[in-house]
């Protein structure tokens, strides 16, 4: 009897939690299909009276949304590919190769994770200005090409690779680069997928740095474009909801399909400080 009551209470509480979590997202979807002005009526409507795609059409036809989406996707893909290569090399070396000062270096990198990114932004802006990279895609990519968190995640995982395996390859005459490329990388595949998802989503969602670097609206990423759009279309609620849907949909899909890797990676990244 008490077990039955506890079960109901648990599911009741979880149901409320799920409802509160999903409601803003579901409402966003629903409102994005409402005809203009329907979202600004009282009482608020949960579902559109007639479904319309006009806001999506406006976003693509008049507001260059496809361009921003391509910008975001291209930048996130570039950052992901470059950082995956460089972080995996460094993470593997920190886990498995011996060199002087290795552990000190690793501790230093870990300690640096308390430094907020904003501290570096002002001089970084001036540096990139000298290099002529302000208002370019390269300016957005450059600070994301390697990351301490990425190195850390790969190192944690690569530590589980048995030394004997690497030594056997060395005895067979394989060079270090070859061992990394054809032995270590395949073994690290799960964590590489995880890191790729993390990096891609982080780059896709990033706001402050692209906002600072990109001044030309043709180069805007989706979040910057969306914040900008809000300034001009603050009254067009349905349009803004459609813009939000288009910004969120790609990350939502990536997460739903690859969530296993994402969540396992998150746990791996948190077990050891």
């Amino acid at each position: 009897m008490t077990r039955w009551v506890v079960g109901w209470l648990l599911y009741g509480a979880l149901g409320v939690g799920i409802a509160l979590t999903l409601f803003p997202l579901l409402w966003m979807f629903s409102v994005s299909f409402m005809p203009a002005m329907e979202a600004t009526r009282f009482p608020p409507r949960l579902f559109p009276e007639t479904v319309t795609f006009e806001h999506y059409r406006t976003l693509f036809a008049q507001l260059d949304l496809a361009l921003y989406m391509a910008n975001s996707a291209g930048l996130a893909a570039a950052i992901t590919l470059i950082s995956l290569l460089l972080n995996s090399m460094a993470g593997y070396a920190l886990a498995k190769l011996r060199f002087g000062g290795r552990d000190l270096l690793f501790k230093l990198l870990l300690a640096a994770m308390v430094i907020p990114g904003q501290v570096a932004m002002l001089p970084l802006f001036l540096m990139l200005k000298e290099m002529g990279l302000i208002n370019t895609y390269a300016g957005v990519i450059v600070p994301g090409m390697a990351s301490i968190f990425g190195i850390f995640l790969i190192r944690q995982y690569a530590q589980s690779i048995p030394d004997s395996l690497l030594d056997a390859a060395r005895i067979d005459g394989a060079g270090e680069l070859r061992i990394y490329w054809s032995l270590v990388l395949p073994l690290c595949k799960p964590i590489l997928v995880t890191l790729a998802i993390f990096t891609f989503m982080g780059a896709w969602n990033d706001f402050m740095w692209p906002l600072i670097i990109l001044t030309d609206s043709d180069l805007y990423t989706l979040p910057v474009a969306l914040a900008n759009l809000l300034g001009e279309h603050v009254q067009d609620t349905e349009l803004m909801m459609a813009g939000s849907v288009l910004t969120l949909l790609p990350v939502m899909l990536v997460f739903l399909f690859l969530q296993k890797y994402y969540i396992e990676g998150l746990i791996l990244g948190s077990v050891k400080e």
């Binding site: 939690g17 979590t21 190769l97 308390v114 001036l126 680069l177 990350v251 969540i263």
Partner: protein, 294 residues
Amino acid sequence: MSETSLRINPALWFVAPALALIGLFFFLPVAAALLLSFTDFDIYALGDRGTLRFVGLDNYFRLLKDPMFWIALKNTLYFVAVGGPLSVAVSLGVALLVNHRLVKFKGVLRSLLFLPVVMTLVAVAVVWRYLYHPRYGFLNYALGLVGIGPIDWLGDPRWAMPAIILMAIWKNFGFNMIIFIAGLQSIPTRLYEAATIDGADAWRQFRHITLPMLAPTSLFVTIITMIGYFQLFAEPYVMTQGGPANSTLSVALLMYQEGFRWWNMGYAAAVAFVLFAWILAGTVLQLMLRTREP
């Protein structure tokens, strides 16, 4: 001397590219930010470096006399001190629910509850602005049904920060929830079995087994939450622009405005360093408090 000892250790080739980039685009700018904070770098210096002067600690003294800085610091501390613990508490509560032995479909529940974490903050802020709309927003409608009069969430200086905190908790709790669930699952079940035999009720088991066993997890979660919350930026930028009446102006937003809107980069660097000092102090304090406990 053998030839191999003269060759560069191949390991260095592996770490060099990533380290060089992190050094050049992170450590060097951080060091440069400290130097920048001792100068009067402004919009004139941006055009002509000749006007740049070394001003020592003047920027930091100016901060102490700047009412906007104190407002931003107070707001940020409010966000960290109220939003941080609430966010951790909600994460722990939901983790306990999901992890309960009577609950099925844990994986699906966990993923759905995690969904807001992966969402783009700017888009989420756009959606929540609408939820908070005083006339058409759903929140006021729902509160109206139970007789709570309309609140101008983002327009009233008393409510704007609580509104941002509420949204931040919604957005972030899933992240810590996952870490708490992993922590809960690492607690050996025999501890609970022994406690049940000894007649300890659910509350005592929670108090004397779950909480102490979760201490390392809680410390980690508290620190990363605090570090993240100190950097509050996109929420007020998109939802309130720091208003109304500066009630949501954060330190990071102040740094952005001073540095990238008015180009007072020397002054903004000082703001950034004070933010760093607070984060460092907060982290060290957390570590000290927790490690002193047995």
